[in-house]
């Protein structure tokens, strides 16, 4: 059960992040809109964009799976192990978002994968 929850968190987080990254690159939020009192407008803007709503849907699934994971495992296990999504997202960022994934970024992904394997040991 614990590992099924880890799987659900990783997959849903990866899908949500891809959707967010794609949509936010298309139309970024201005720095001025991050002032106190303007967060409501940012939230309203987010709620009008279909891809961001889809991202929030997948994040909600990830959130509930994470809640369940927290009830099954230590916080110091639950949070780092879900870093496996970073490896999946680096690959998908290159394939889908067409980001330039240099050897340094691949090396980073390898370190992350090794770290996740150690957490699971």
């Amino acid at each position: 059960m614990k590992w099924w929850m880890v799987f659900a968190v990783v997959v849903c987080t990866a899908i949500a992040d891809l959707l967010q990254s794609f949509e936010m690159k298309r139309k970024a939020v201005a720095a001025e809109d991050l002032r106190p009192g303007r967060w409501g407008r940012v939230l309203a803007g987010v709620l009008q964009r279909g891809q961001l709503l889809a991202a929030i849907f997948f994040m909600a699934i990830s959130f509930f799976a994470f809640l369940k994971l927290l009830s099954l495992a230590d916080l110091s296990f639950a949070v780092p192990v879900t870093a496996a999504s970073i490896v999946a997202e680096t690959i998908l960022a290159k394939l889908i978002l067409k980001e330039k994934v240099t050897p340094l970024r691949w090396a980073g992904a390898f370190f992350v994968a090794t770290g996740v394997a150690l957490l699971a040991a």
């Binding site: 967010q20 009830s71 949070v79 870093a83 067409k98 370190f111």
Partner: protein, 154 residues
């Protein structure tokens, strides 16, 4: 609710240097802080309630509206919005490492507030994760601005 065009649709010059500017650093710090504290409060709330989290959705709803979990969820809403903004300013494969210090802070919080036993393998794993995502952080923040034709932050 209508959104003013200036908030989401104004174009801006592309990022020219790999160094994150001060605003981006501040936003990244905010993203990290809200994520670590939000997760901490969630964990605190889940561990200090008696409802069993089984398959019933009502149990989850009951837990969500408990005070600590509600506070954690509120912080995670701010985390969500600020992280979305950060994703508009830099690559996904760049934002992930920049915010990775949260993993270490979370492990430290778990160790000192929940007295969780952290083996040397877990510490080593956490350190490797941070090294890995820090390596990624040495690369250019935004590699897609020119090719995608998207609008950039100011």
């Amino acid at each position: 609710m209508p959104v003013a065009p200036s908030s989401l649709e104004q174009a801006a010059p592309p990022m020219k240097t790999p160094r994150l500017d001060r605003r981006t650093n501040l936003l990244a710090a905010f993203v990290i802080l809200t994520n670590v504290l939000g997760n901490f409060l969630l964990s605190w709330g889940v561990k200090h309630q008696t409802t069993h989290l089984g398959l019933s959705p009502f149990a989850y709803i009951q837990v969500i509206f408990s005070p600590w979990v509600l506070c954690g969820t509120t912080l995670l809403v701010f985390w969500l919005l600020s992280r979305m903004t950060l994703l508009g300013w830099a690559d996904l494969s760049y934002v992930l490492p920049v915010t990775s210090v949260g993993y270490v802070l979370t492990a430290i919080l778990g160790r000192y507030f929940f007295s969780e036993q952290i083996s040397w393998q877990r510490w080593l794993g956490t350190v490797l994760i941070v090294i890995g995502i820090s390596l990624v952080g040495l690369t250019l923040p935004n590699t897609t601005a020119a090719t995608r034709g998207g609008e950039q932050f100011r």
